[in-house]
């Protein structure tokens, strides 16, 4: 090696540049990997859904960045004089190699021979003088671990019950038809429906199994064998309206704050057509108009109950498929067809009117197929099955089970199914738009807290 001193210097310089570039790459990977990991943590803490492409790009970026830094660091030249002196110090050679470099341009051969002879015994393991720093290996390992951990965090769904996290509702893409046997409320609980099973299967892991039934359970809405067993919401509304009507007849005047709160709470448990009526009652400002609105709503409650009962029975006995479902391969029996909307379902119940099947309204949705709104017999509506265009890939239409009155937000989960997140912010904005009284807003907030278990 010492016979070809320039060659030795080149080899040492190359090794030094490699070590330097490795250290730079480790640093870059450590920094960018930790940033990526932090970003995934933050997005997870705030339940921000990240598109798969962004996840991959985020994971690849630290690797690319460290690679780029490595190349740049490798291309930068190292001053041989400083390198050789560093090597001398590391090998315990008293400036032999760096002095030899001085003699390259000319010098006494006799002195050169003496220096070479003094340096030779230590040159066997000269690479020990340029060791790979431990922190480089450590930094690379930690940085890579950050990337992998960030990737795993991004892929895994947000766990249920995480503070400040809104649990997503995982929706099965190929949702089988949901039976609307409203007259089967008295039947004992049966094994989960295929829809529920599919929904559970659509989740990515056992701990991530936050299915539709879980959500509905959270919302305290029982699910029957048919998938939507009816609570007595319409009956409650009828009772409430009767009480209000009775009080108005006795005392006159307008709605009290308590009545308003009860009506608002009822809005969340009745089908959208009835919520409109309730909304009308809440906005009436004269006693006469208020009385008329209550009477009208009572009639609507009665007719809706009849319609839902017949529709549910029909759906249970002779399930039919809509044209769109057959084309798209997505089954939806007994669900109202939303025709030619082509858009994303609105987050608020008010904008879902087009897709709703309100009895007697003669809307377009009734022309192809007019299954009645899914009301349980003697119960009020909790679920509003709504086929919507798929938003993930080309999976066709999806069947969403919407709970009337609960605003929804569509997430962008990375799994096969979409997700719906319920947030108080959304509710709050809707309340603001409607300019409700503070007491009404407070009632809604309490309601929201009730259905979300006190979370945000």
């Amino acid at each position: 090696m010492i016979d070809d001193f320039p060659g030795f210097v080149r080899v040492a310089e190359r090794r030094s540049r490699l070590i330097r570039s490795g250290s730079a790459a480790a640093f870059a990977l450590l920094v960018s990997g930790s940033l990526y990991f932090a970003a995934t943590l933050v997005s997870r803490a705030h339940a921000v859904s990240i598109p798969p492409g962004a996840i991959v790009a985020g994971a690849v970026f630290p690797l690319l960045a460290s690679g780029a830094v490595m190349i740049v660091a490798f291309r930068r030249r190292i001053e041989p004089a400083a390198l050789l002196l560093r090597l001398d110090l590391a090998l315990g050679l008293p400036a032999r190699l760096s002095s030899l470099a001085e003699l390259e341009g000319g010098g006494s051969p006799a002195i050169r021979r003496r220096i070479e002879a003094a340096a030779a015994p230590r040159l066997e393991g000269w690479k020990d003088g340029l060791p790979i720093p431990k922190w480089t290996i450590f930094g690379l390992a930690i940085g890579f671990s950050f990337v992998v951990a960030g990737l795993l965090f991004s892929i895994r769904p947000v766990p249920v019950g995480t503070p400040g996290v809104i649990a997503p509702i995982t929706l099965p893409s190929p949702s089988p038809p949901v039976s609307r046997a409203g007259d089967e409320t008295s039947e004992p609980p049966a094994p989960p429906l295929p829809a529920e099973a599919a929904a559970e299967a659509a989740t990515t892991g056992p701990e991530a199994g936050y299915t539709l039934s879980d959500i509905l359970s959270e919302l305290r809405i029982p699910i029957g064998p048919s998938g939507a067993e009816r609570p007595a919401s319409e009956a409650d509304l009828t009772d409430l309206l009767a009480r209000i009507k009775e009080r108005l007849a006795a005392e006159g005047g307008l709605l009290t704050d308590a009545e308003r709160a009860e009506l608002i709470a009822a809005m969340a448990t009745v089908p959208p057509p009835l919520t409109e009526g309730i909304n009308g009652i809440l906005t009436e400002e004269s006693p006469e108009a208020l009385g008329n609105s209550i009477d009208q709503l009572l009639e609507e409650v009665g007719s809706a109950a009849v319609s839902l009962t017949s529709g549910g029975t029909e759906g249970a006995t002779s399930p039919s498929r809509s044209e769109g479902e057959e084309e798209g391969g997505v089954g939806s029996v007994g669900m109202p067809e939303r025709e030619e909307t082509g858009g994303i379902p609105s987050a608020s119940p008010a904008t879902n009117e087009e897709g709703r099947n309100v009895p007697g309204n003669g809307g377009e949705g009734e022309e192809e197929e007019a299954p009645s709104p899914p009301l349980a017999e003697g119960g009020t509506e909790e679920l509003l099955p709504t086929p919507v265009p798929g938003r993930i890939g080309e999976e066709g239409r999806l069947d969403l089970l919407l709970t009337a009155g609960v605003p929804i937000e569509y997430g962008t989960g990375s799994e096969g199914g979409g997700s719906i997140s319920v947030s108080f912010e959304r509710i709050d904005s809707i309340l603001s738009e409607r300019a409700l009284s503070p007491s009404a807003v407070e009632a809604v907030r309490k309601y929201f807290e009730t259905i979300t278990g006190g979370g945000s």
Binding site: A81, A82, L84, L85, R86, D88, L89, P94, A95, R96, S98, S99, L100, A101, E102, L103, G107, S108, P109, A110, I111, R113, R114, I115, A118
Partner: protein, 327 residues
């Protein structure tokens, strides 16, 4: 081109020289080494120490061991420049009177300027040309001094009354400054033994010649200094300047002027000579360390605050040494 034989002979010569000096001198290894380094580097040495420590004996021993001419000049306040360099005198030869130059004591190979700070600056400056140019100019005539030539000046650091501190320009011309320490117990016993037993101090015979010294100087100049170490020396010298980016805090605070470029030259040459005296074929970091203090001690000037607070220059140099990394 230096041959192996020349190198070996030079190493051997100076090894013999060192041993010869040590037969007379007790201790003072650093001082002896500083004198030899100056001899090898064509430099001059400023020796600082109280009287009676053997400074004159060292110079005489060196001259005897080298077989060179030695002269001693005792500097006093009434010493005139002509007393040092010599003067033209009128002589009569063959019935004709003419001026003839009578060389002063400065015309020797080894000159001991004893208590150099007792003479007036005018007389002190008479040494300047000889120290730097190795020539002496009297009237319109310039005379070459014989090589090897070295001036060893001594200073008494205690008796400062009636002295004339050396001007900075003159101090800078000394390659190294060596403090002559007081001997320790064992050395003192050995000194008394050598001086009082038998025939007393006997100067050694010549173990080398002027030619040997000149050959050794060639070898010293051929010893390589790594570029990284040259850079290190430059940074060390710059670090003595208060405005330098390398200067440690206390240098910025207490130093008025740092070391001159002559200091860097002195360190490079001194390190080479030190490596030679150590039998090494190249300059090592320890060679630089060995000459760091002797080369810089007399080249740093404290500011008023440093003087007032009694700051010691060796302490500042220690800061510089600690604060400047090799690479």
């Amino acid at each position: 081109m230096i041959t192996d034989t020349e190198i070996d002979d030079a190493y051997a010569t100076f090894e013999r020289l060192r041993e010869a000096i040590e037969t007379v001198m007790v201790g003072h290894e650093r001082v002896i080494r500083a004198v030899l380094i100056s001899l090898l580097c064509r430099g001059n040495v400023l020796l600082e120490g109280v009287p009676g420590l053997g400074k004159t004996l060292l110079v005489r021993t060196l001259a005897a061991a080298l077989g060179l001419r030695f002269s001693r000049i005792q500097f006093t306040p009434d010493l005139m420049p002509a007393d040092i360099v010599g003067t033209d005198i009128i002589t009569e030869e063959d019935g004709h009177r003419r001026f003839r130059f009578a060389p002063g004591p400065i015309f020797a190979n080894i000159v001991l300027a004893d208590e150099v700070n007792r003479a007036t600056p005018k007389t002190q400056s008479a040494l300047l040309e000889a120290m730097e140019e190795r020539t002496v100019t009297v009237g319109s005539n310039t005379y070459e001094l014989e090589e090897p030539y070295i001036v060893l000046a001594t200073q008494n650091p205690i008796e400062m009354e009636g002295t004339y501190p050396l001007p900075e320009a003159q101090v800078d011309r000394f390659l190294l400054k060596a403090n002559v320490p007081f001997p320790d117990l064992d050395e003192l016993i050995e000194i008394t033994t050598r001086n009082t037993d038998g025939e007393g101090i006997v100067l050694p015979g010549s173990v080398a010649s002027a030619a040997d010294v000149l050959t050794a100087r060639k070898v010293v100049r051929a010893i390589p200094l790594a570029a990284g170490l040259r850079d290190y020396i430059a940074r060390l010298v710059l670090a003595t300047h208060p405005e330098s980016e390398y200067a440690p805090g206390r240098v910025r605070e207490y130093v008025e002027y740092g070391a001159s470029p002559r200091a860097a030259i002195a360190m490079v040459m001194g390190a080479k000579a030190h490596a030679f005296l150590s039998g090494e074929p190249n300059v090592r970091p320890e060679d630089i360390e060995a000459v760091f203090h002797p080369a810089l001690l007399h080249r740093i000037i404290l500011n008023f605050r440093g003087e007032a607070e009694g700051v010691r220059i060796p302490d500042l140099l220690a800061d510089v040494w600690e604060g400047v990394p090799i690479v």
